[in-house]
């Protein structure tokens, strides 16, 4: 056999070997990706929203409200490093709420939802701006939407004392409902300020006691 043919055959053999090894690796990678699908939003969050840390972070036991059964949320104590700054602290607890439910059944917000912005006005009104995924991937239903809003509101209420009301925006805009039911055009109570003067003569100035722990947080007030 001529020398050049031997040389060509050995190169070909090496190429086939390399190809087989790479194909196997590629196959494993594809299998891994199919087992752990990562949406565009999740991938973006990993790049754009790394864990928030500030110089004032202190380890505390935070109360994060996840689902506890089919129709209510309950606090879970989680050790977190939280900032002293109310805006950063709010973002930190909301990030934890979205990204780390103890079990899939306890999830209240879509995994792809991200916090695009968080603002606090001087009167204690918090404005949380979420990505579209919060509405597009939310299971439709009064109970599921109520739990979603309650988990946001009660998590903020329990960890950031200075907040009194919450407004939820989607991609910077006010939307009518979360997923067809819960009214997002108004505000939600967070640590409501007690009235300083006698209540005006209104039907709901003194609302009845809530029937569930989640009730106070899901009551928007339209301006």
């Amino acid at each position: 056999m001529p020398r050049n043919i031997k040389f060509a055959l050995s190169i070909l053999g090496i190429a086939v070997l390399i190809g087989l090894v790479s194909l196997r690796g590629m196959h494993e990678r594809i299998q891994h990706l199919s087992e752990n699908p990562k949406s565009e939003d999740q991938a973006r969050r990993e790049v754009l929203a790394p864990p928030i840390s500030t110089p004032t972070d202190v380890k505390v036991q935070a109360k994060i409200f996840w689902a506890a059964g089919a129709d209510r949320v309950a606090p879970v104590m989680v050790q977190l490093s939280l900032s002293a700054d109310a805006v950063q602290r709010s973002k930190q607890v909301l990030e934890e709420l979205i990204s780390s439910p103890p079990t899939p059944e306890q999830r209240t917000l879509p995994a792809d939802a991200t916090i695009l912005g968080f603002y606090i006005l001087s009167d204690g009104t918090a404005i949380a701006d979420f990505s579209d995924a919060l509405v597009t991937e939310m299971p439709s239903g009064i109970s599921s939407e109520t739990m979603a809003v309650d988990s946001i509101a009660q998590t903020l209420e329990s960890n950031v004392a200075s907040l009194h009301r919450l407004k939820i925006l989607i991609h910077g805009q006010e939307v009518e409902t979360l997923a067809g039911h819960i009214d997002l055009t108004g505000f939600f109570d967070l640590n409501p300020v007690p009235p300083q003067s006698p209540a005006p003569a209104q039907g709901t100035a003194s609302p009845p006691a809530p029937n569930s722990a989640a009730a106070p947080a899901s009551n928007p007030q339209r301006h």
Partner: protein, 280 residues
């Protein structure tokens, strides 16, 4: 002259003969109408003419309007499908079927029923509220099925506003009593439900009591939640949500229609019997 008299007598006799079948026919028609209205068999035909006037039948020929107008609102519709189940169950279709069953039950009970949609249309939230707001003595019941939740359970919700923000009251100062709507003042459309919240809560309680009896595992208490559809309804308004479209057998969703209708009909009767007024 004799011929003329004979002719006149002949004509009168003919006229009398023609009249008799008409009377018989009239008597038979009256008997048939009575049979249709009362469900009783007609008396045997006799040669006696029917009495000119008979007493009206005692059985109700048509439902009597004993309660308020009920505006039934099958949620979603059109491009808004609502919840979707793995078996192909779609909320907008199922709640429309439920609305038809509930309407039949309520009409049998004497209520006047209006549907916010009777096809695959999707009226806006405000259009649905406006439909209810055109009536005086009215209640609004919105029907839904959830995506999640314990299958086979049902919940009634009423709108609950947040604590009033600082600033001028939203409702006219002519309001004099808690939970009573202003008699002759304007309501803010976005808060039209506010004066009726207490009535809505009582209506939800009445319905929930009946739902809990028919849907095992349902809570016995109601929840105040900000449901967009209820916000602008100027009347007692509730949303009833069944769980869920995620059933393994779609037939089980159809099976919920009858108990749902019975619960709503009975709950409305309870609501009416506990001193409701159009306002509360």
């Amino acid at each position: 002259m004799r011929t003329f008299c004979s002719f006149v007598i002949f004509v009168i006799a003919l006229a009398l003969l023609n009249l008799r079948p008409e009377k018989r026919a009239f008597a038979e028609t009256t008997a048939q109408e009575q049979t249709q209205q009362t469900g009783q068999q007609p008396p045997p035909a006799t040669s006696q003419p029917a009495p000119p006037q008979q007493a009206p039948p005692l059985a109700p020929a048509a439902p009597v309007h004993v309660g308020p107008v009920v505006v039934l609102d099958p949620g979603h519709g059109g491009t808004d499908s609502g919840a979707r189940g793995g078996t192909g169950a779609i909320e907008k279709d199922i709640v429309l079927q439920y609305a038809h069953v509930v309407r039949s039950e309520l009409e049998r009970e004497g209520f006047r029923v209006v549907l916010t949609r009777d096809d695959d249309s999707n009226p806006s939230y405000d259009d649905r509220a406006a439909m209810a707001n055109t009536y005086h003595d009215v209640v609004f019941v919105s029907l839904h099925i959830s995506t999640t939740g314990t299958v086979g359970t049902a919940r009634a919700y009423y709108y609950r506003f947040a604590s009033a923000p600082a600033g001028p009251p939203a409702i006219s100062e002519t309001t004099t009593a808690p939970n009573a709507p202003p008699a002759a003042s304007l309501l803010v459309w976005e808060q039209a439900q506010q004066p009726y919240v207490e009535g809505s809560r009582r209506l939800a309680d009445a319905l929930q009591g009946e739902l809990a009896q028919r849907f095992a595992g349902s809570p016995i208490t109601t929840s105040g939640v900000a449901i967009r559809e209820l916000r602008s309804v100027a009347a007692p308004a509730v949303a009833v949500e069944l769980s869920s479209v995620s059933v393994a057998d779609p037939n089980s969703l159809s099976a919920m229609a009858a108990p749902l209708a019975a619960a709503i009909a009975r709950g409305l009767q309870v609501f009416r019997s506990t001193g409701s007024t159009p306002e509360n």
